[in-house]
Assembly symmetry: C4
Homo-oligomer: 281 residues x 4
């Protein structure tokens, strides 16, 4: 199993070209946040913006708009229950993240189905949180996009019917192939399963055991992938840095909140890319 | 009377296990914030989140949702006037804090009664602010949960009919036994009454005499208790650190606002647990 | 004319007694913020809270509630267009500030009249901004409270019909006596007119020439007066420190925004009172 | 082609007179932010406020009010779909910025037309973002105000029908003359076209390639122009400093968000004007 280390991520970090513009860094749509769970999608969207995504749009319940813009004016809003608008926005995106705070009711399912039906093969679709629940428990169309799933251990167990002591890497790999997805298995040392290789993260600590942490990771991946040379490099770098920042914060913080991690993303990305990055002044 | 000191709290601070997850640190529900008093429950919920509670949900008036999520995306929302939803959420919690900004009208009383009727013996229920008012002045069912009350001096007088010069520790202890509750008597030097022992806090100062200070304490206790080995250790540590942070801030601030205290919680918890806490990197 | 200096303010700063509680530091109501001008009353209320007022309540247009609590959870809300609630709140206050963003239409006037009719002689009423406009241009009842007016130069001209070159201190003093009010005449060097003495401020600079600056001053006076030994000491200290903070900030900021000033209040109050203030730890 | 350098901007920076007041620094109206895009106009308005504009008012969709005031209490609100109110506000302004997040539908067009019809020759009108789209693609009245357009390269191509390799400075200048506008052509090295001279910016870097960056520039120009001796000096200084701050931030941040840039404006303006600026204390 490959290890994701600081050196790996340093090598992956992209350099921004002088004549690039916001379109060069990805159009990302985050879908989630039902009437009760605005926070999850706000956290995910903030992570995408602070990761340097070019343009971030949030499809969420209309009642979440004021809180979204009060915290994150950099993001645009779409009402997720407006099927036609949702389809239009999905179609124009490079990457879609669905699931944080999406809920598990009929309305949530309709939204998930709309996204699944609309995505095309050149797009990337990350399914997280309640999205994974619906993906596992409901009849949903097969999305044509490159699929990324981010289950935690409990969700993985439901997805695979594997008890914890059966979840060896080789066994997991077989299940991942069946799912035709890239799987990010979230645990103390997160594992990332691609079709033909598996990576284990080397960062992370229990100060991260708090609500919203997974939403921040989903948003970071959404922000990283369209900026990086390959999907693999974007995912591995996001997984590593999300926990790397928490490790740094944990030296001085008993609990590392997702909002505290997000704030550090631009600085840590700069730090890690310093050798490669051109100085602009 | 035992004294709560820095050494006491240091000994109580729990160590997080590497394989723990957010469920390990408590599901906490905060109930309060009527149409006029969103701020009280936002302060309490923020204190719970920054104290490291695993999952924080806020049952409040629906008109408070935008402000809650704009300030604290880490928290989930439930409309407190939806009796069925409230019952469901109460049932799935480790700890419930009711009272900050709850109000004192019929609607407030209905909500308090629903919570009191629903809690089970394995749960912990903290009653604060307007919750204490209703508890004292209205006919309410006897909650089955472990009960914590946080009266200030005036409320204690109403609860016990004791004039200030009759409130000796021994007398108070008798009344506490009748109440079948743990009582946190808030004053310049706060006293904590358990069934068989009494503790006096050694921190606190008059820069804390400002609105919302009690809400912050209620939220900290809500966040601490499910993380600590025992209820007693969680309560005493929260009481101490709440005022300890204010003491530190008072060196440079004339008034120490509850939001300023909350911001410091993760750092001070880390500081106080440094000798015990494993370094994760 | 007396000069307000750092030494004056140092001598005025009150010391908090160990057994004081939030009620010791004043119940303050701020009335203002119509449908278009939430910001003005949010700034005023923030200034009152950060000045150490014991309990701060904001009577404003209901549509301003979310923004108020998102920024300032320490404050309570009352709908200002609910006459009965407004009366009840006014009656229980030590100090009322009316005017910031209040508007100048019929609804604004009704609110002003309600407050003017309700206040009693033991209360203090500060009238600012649109409140001054209504006070000058409409028929309003004579408030029984101690009255403080905070006109800027243009408003003073309208109030007195004095052209700028007629506004000598002695002339102003005559008009102030007629008004039966304490007048804070806002200008480059603000003057404070009491019945029998006049004070000139020694701080202030043109980086303060920006929207909301007067609202911050009104809120600071509202927060200071109930904490200080006398109304005069509270007013003079607020006037001085408001501009003193801006002077400090102007060393590094081209424009000093009211929100930037407000953030510094607790630190500067501590600083200025260091010699007198007991250390609590 | 003239270069905008630090020395140029230093020479342009105005000195505030001791007796100036907020009216001395411009009344600025920002028009934009439809139901989905509150963030754009909030960013623009924040930039105007932090640039030191005397009085900032935001005409936007009513559903954006809470987020606006939660982030920026210094700004006033007007509902942009209320034609009469919009006209009244436009008439009383020194400078109007229209376009950020305005949208491109019939309602957006009505608003743009209202502003175009209402402005007078003594006023300055900056058209940005969706405003440029409507200006190019719809029949609109000729505004009487001094007109500033801020197209990016793609919009310029549509405006002029010039392919990228035909866009020489001399050619652009001809088109600018036809447009009877000052044109700020946004690119890696932004160019500013006046009637008789062209300036090239010397700051800017690809960390700025992120959503909202143009809104921040539009707002800064809106804030700068009424404060500076001439329109030209205000525009050139805003263009330079917007990217200068990003250059500074890019030393430590991989992506420089518009909100991060805005926060630095008051400090950088002070820094750049230090030699000229009087010290007030």
């Amino acid at each position: 199993m490959n290890k994701i280390t600081k050196e790996t991520v340093k090598a992956f970090m992209p350099t921004r070209e002088r004549t690039s513009y916001k379109g060069s860094y990805g159009r990302v749509l985050l879908v989630g946040g039902n009437e009760n769970m605005a926070g999850a999608i706000i956290i995910a969207a903030s992570a995408a913006v602070y990761s340097g995504a070019g343009l971030v749009t949030v499809a969420t319940h209309p009642s979440n708009k004021a809180a979204l813009h009060a915290r994150l004016p950099e993001a645009m809003f779409v009402p997720m229950n407006n099927t036609q608008q949702l389809k239009n926005y999905v179609s124009s995106m490079d990457m879609i993240v669905i699931g944080p705070g999406l809920g598990r009711d009929d309305e949530s399912l309709t939204i998930l189905r709309t996204v699944y039906e609309t995505v095309k093969s050149h797009q990337i679709l990350l399914v997280d949180g309640d999205g994974i629940y619906l993906h596992m428990n409901e009849v949903v169309p097969k999305p044509k996009a490159t699929l990324i799933l981010t289950p935690h251990l409990g969700e993985w167990r439901t997805l695979t019917n594997l008890s914890p002591d059966e979840q060896f890497v080789e066994v997991n790999q077989e299940y991942v192939k069946d799912l035709k997805a890239i799987v990010i298995l979230k645990k103390a040392r997160t594992e990332v399963y691609f079709d033909d290789e598996v990576w284990e993260n080397t960062t992370g600590n229990p100060s991260m055991a708090t609500g919203g942490m997974g939403d921040a990771l989903a948003g970071m991946i959404g922000g990283f992938v369209p900026q990086f040379d390959t999907i693999k490099e974007g995912i591995l770098s996001a997984v590593y840095l999300h926990s790397y920042i928490a490790d740094q914060l944990s030296l001085t913080h008993y609990v590392t909140l997702p909002t505290a991690i997000i704030e550090q993303i631009p600085k840590v990305m700069k730090d890690i890319s310093k050798d490669k990055q051109k100085r602009w002044i």
